[in-house]
Subunit: 365 residues, 4 copies
Amino acid sequence: MQIKAYKLLTSSPSDTTGIERLFSEQLIEPSEVICIIGKTEGNGGRNDFTRDLSMRAFEELFAERLGIGRKEVGERIIFSLSGGCEGVVSPHIIVIGRYGKAVDKPLPLKRLAVGTGFTREFLAQEVGRMAQVEETARVIRQIVDELKVDLKDVHLVQMKGAIPHYSYEEGVAAMKSGKPMRSDMVYSRGASALGAAVATGEVKLNELSDDSICSDWSKYSSTASCSAKPGLTRTEIMVMANSSYYEGDLTINSGVLKDMIDVDGVRNVLEGLGITMRGGQLSADSTSRLVGIFAKSEADPRGTIRGRRHTMLTDDDISDTRYSRCVLSSVLAGVTGDTAVYVSTRSEHHGPLGGGTLSIIARTR
Amino acid sequence: MQIKAYKLLTSSPSDTTGIERLFSEQLIEPSEVICIIGKTEGNGGRNDFTRDLSMRAFEELFAERLGIGRKEVGERIIFSLSGGCEGVVSPHIIVIGRYGKAVDKPLPLKRLAVGTGFTREFLAQEVGRMAQVEETARVIRQIVDELKVDLKDVHLVQMKGAIPHYSYEEGVAAMKSGKPMRSDMVYSRGASALGAAVATGEVKLNELSDDSICSDWSKYSSTASCSAKPGLTRTEIMVMANSSYYEGDLTINSGVLKDMIDVDGVRNVLEGLGITMRGGQLSADSTSRLVGIFAKSEADPRGTIRGRRHTMLTDDDISDTRYSRCVLSSVLAGVTGDTAVYVSTRSEHHGPLGGGTLSIIARTR
Amino acid sequence: MQIKAYKLLTSSPSDTTGIERLFSEQLIEPSEVICIIGKTEGNGGRNDFTRDLSMRAFEELFAERLGIGRKEVGERIIFSLSGGCEGVVSPHIIVIGRYGKAVDKPLPLKRLAVGTGFTREFLAQEVGRMAQVEETARVIRQIVDELKVDLKDVHLVQMKGAIPHYSYEEGVAAMKSGKPMRSDMVYSRGASALGAAVATGEVKLNELSDDSICSDWSKYSSTASCSAKPGLTRTEIMVMANSSYYEGDLTINSGVLKDMIDVDGVRNVLEGLGITMRGGQLSADSTSRLVGIFAKSEADPRGTIRGRRHTMLTDDDISDTRYSRCVLSSVLAGVTGDTAVYVSTRSEHHGPLGGGTLSIIARTR
Amino acid sequence: MQIKAYKLLTSSPSDTTGIERLFSEQLIEPSEVICIIGKTEGNGGRNDFTRDLSMRAFEELFAERLGIGRKEVGERIIFSLSGGCEGVVSPHIIVIGRYGKAVDKPLPLKRLAVGTGFTREFLAQEVGRMAQVEETARVIRQIVDELKVDLKDVHLVQMKGAIPHYSYEEGVAAMKSGKPMRSDMVYSRGASALGAAVATGEVKLNELSDDSICSDWSKYSSTASCSAKPGLTRTEIMVMANSSYYEGDLTINSGVLKDMIDVDGVRNVLEGLGITMRGGQLSADSTSRLVGIFAKSEADPRGTIRGRRHTMLTDDDISDTRYSRCVLSSVLAGVTGDTAVYVSTRSEHHGPLGGGTLSIIARTR
């Protein structure tokens, strides 16, 4: 079994020419594709329709190539499209495929493996509470088991978290019962991340309670990358890890960023991939090995970075989410020389408060 | 003669408490101050009133301390306040003072020297044309001579360029005469920068003509940092250089950034200051030596960076000027660990197209 | 022959449920639809992808219902989707269909008629010059003749203007020849509008020259509503008029707005439709008669409205296009009580400088 | 006793030339001025420094003219500067003065009277709760008594509400005690408005409880116009009413707007001033009678206006506060022909949900 991954620059959210070229050059078969992850050039907010446009274009393409309906495509391929290409970020997608036969005994070198799964459907009152943390952790562990990887080899737990709708009356009832609804972006992302932290053993379940979610920031995952989508009733999960049962030329590493300018944190992740920073930017050769750079960013909610005031949270013209993506993308592009970086924002329980997580896929060559 | 420089974080554009503390702690006398350069938290655009608010607060303070009128303060002290603290940038000012007696013979070590001057008043039709380039170069050379420094020791030519007003009728007449008015931000900055390039010998006067201004991007300065202000009739110039006739513990270096993520360019400037990048962020000790980081940024007008598309110029929600400042500030903060960076935007003839200039003042220790 | 028109509110740019309901309730047949005109909730700028998303959704729907390809749908139905639902504007579309047999002799009452056409392909150097004005006028006249309507009965000339691409070299060559390229939004809209003014006899061809386009604002159309689209090589034209050869219950009227708060101008257009403003908002009954409200808006380029300063052009956080749409939409919604108004922005030669055009379709009942 | 009021257009937030002209033309004495109310061209948000700049300029002017300190000016004159001149709004101030001797018996005609006062200092835990409502109501009643006006003659209760700071620990303690802190903009504005409603008898004190504040929107004031300022410990109150003990040529009226396009609501307020809308814009003569137009606006939090979706709350590029000010200002400017309108945003308990309040000062002539 082997993972293929191709980074493709896009000329617009609906640009499918790169994928079509992969097909025509027989680098990948439509049926091998398991995931498309990328950045589209919207604002990443509520009125960002670039993700919908992109999804629709990809679904149409795969529907035609696979001879199935558009809806079936969505069930078969995971689309992680994130809006917001602030600053130097070049809009791009990473097409990930899986092919080949299962390997039956462990190989000497570990290579990138990808597994996917879904939680059960959540009730609105479960979101942002321990029920979500536990179920998320359970499914991640199940995927990890299926991949036959060690927990320490898990380097990216990409999730799109559930946010079930609830009625105004249900909201009032929850408030009155003393357990106000938390079925929103912030809590869903936070609980998803803690689910990953529990699954990988970074946090023990008994260290957590409903109260610690989005409150005790000392508990966090160093591999999670969570978004959340209103209306989604179950969480979509993709786990990337290094496995002895996978072949190929791809490997992954991850680490924690302690704040948005934590270049030492970036260095640590690169070094784990055998890529050395020598003072200055990576060499062109090292840059060319990078296939996917995935990070979570956050404008430090305390209003300071390293004790100095920042103004991202008090600027009423530009959202802090756009700023924090721009900052971390620029830092990553500066260090690596690669502007096709995937930075997604707000990082509750992803690394320490004001920090984030970083995962990088590289060719082993 | 010696230059003093203090970097002060501000809590708002009108925060003068830091300067007042410098006075009360007798670190600097009001009468020694020759320049205040800093970033305020506005949008850096036409409706950015943070610079006015800041100016007014500083002028009032100095008027009271020096017992002179507010207008006199403005003639005595150069205020270079630049709006736009995007991303991690911490609003700050650098208070620069000069004191001590003239040194009459050269010292073994060169130290930071600062000189200032003004061009003659420009006519609107001269701006953005060779007349502006030549007069600007002349005044810079004069300041350089007064400072008794070598041209290669000039590392920052900070200018606020003239943009004389002209009437609608004068505009039409200029258009008809075949020499349309260029009395605007773009041309004034461009001609100022070429003036610096000519003064320092980077570009020869006979290589230039009216046509090459804001058109032949192969000609540029590597030390200029120019803004321009509508209504200003003469250009304000401040030259920073290393001089054998100055004492103290401050030194300056500069270089060109070939694009907004040119970390190797940053390394070169740091190395000239005896600060080594070892792969990762500067050590805390090195960071603490940095007194002023001044750079010019630009969203590459070709729409690409290193061949890859960026979207800064097609985003109609956020100005490219805000993006480019955010990008370069983030890169500089990541490399140096210092978030109090001064990045000003649009860099016509400041380094190559899509690039910029970088000057850093550091303590020698 | 008869025109049908239905105003449908949309829940998102890709919402086709309203049209599907029209079909299922047999109010209109897919094959009868000739035009969909509406507002989507993007920024109306270069990075507004809501129009693409909407187009794609509509094309898919019609492709399926008509059993033709998506591209053929685009050739058969005119889509005029305009981004920007600022303020109270409710995203909506107006579905326009034509059905029935040609009427062979004039009827006593004139009713709404709609005709469409295309100019020949333009060269880049023709755009924004007399060649575009003349060809546009020619095609409008041709459509008017086909509709058998009087020029005074023409009340809306909706156009999507050509903006052919040209190479950098072609641009330089044009500049050198003394006729710089004008193949941009501003000039294409301006020349389209003057084309309409010539066609309807408001401006005589011999009063115009290349120099007057986007310069002599005393020449304008009172029925044009022009956008322009980069890459389009021919201009799409739709003419709405009252015709003796059309039956049905729809009628149209138009007029000029002298500035963005010209409520008296609105009153005049309503009165022509037999709808009286009595001091306050229209009665609910009158509001219910309004089927389509189409206007062009503009932040007065002189920086004042009725002699008083406005700040729409100096606000670097929000585009003047968004402001001007918000202003005129609010004025129209206030007067009429209808928030589903179609306001499109920048109005070169659409009414006087700082003003615009207004066309309203109403049921006759 | 008599009130003078002059509307002055400003060329920038620090423009004091209009006031200086009033002084030099002896239309008003510096010592007569009791209030300056106006709109400055910032974003009206947290990073809007135009109000500070304006305050500083006015304080300096009055300090010099009255020979007192800047701080004393602030205690003597009420400055109600509100940021946000969206759309057609022309930045302006209204200078209000009081002069003459007290009238000892009632006159046949009622004229504009202005009274001011301050609440006691609030504790953080009182804000947004009944303690704030009651104290606010008490002070308003006291001012009303001093003015010797009927409650029905009160037409504007302009307030800047207290928002005392509290420590993180105090916040946690309040949360634990079951009474979480409400010392924020929303609750302070809401409780201030309810204080006005209680004072004027629109709402009975016993109809209210802590729970109804910012929750039971059926309770509201029709004369309040409240902002709130972080750090302010007592609420500043200004009451405008028609009084038999005041002379002059100014009168005021007020009313409720049921939503942001409620032109009938505007008509009612105008009619109370003897100004009739005849279908179209006010006549130039009527427009010239308008001295101050003060309104509160709100993007309806339910996401709809008259049952139709609006997108002001889901647009992550532009704040709903800017949109709602732009909308209501445009409607008011359209109806009245006056672009110098003062619209301030978010209107908790100011008129019904999604609506606001409107007060207009006019010359009686």
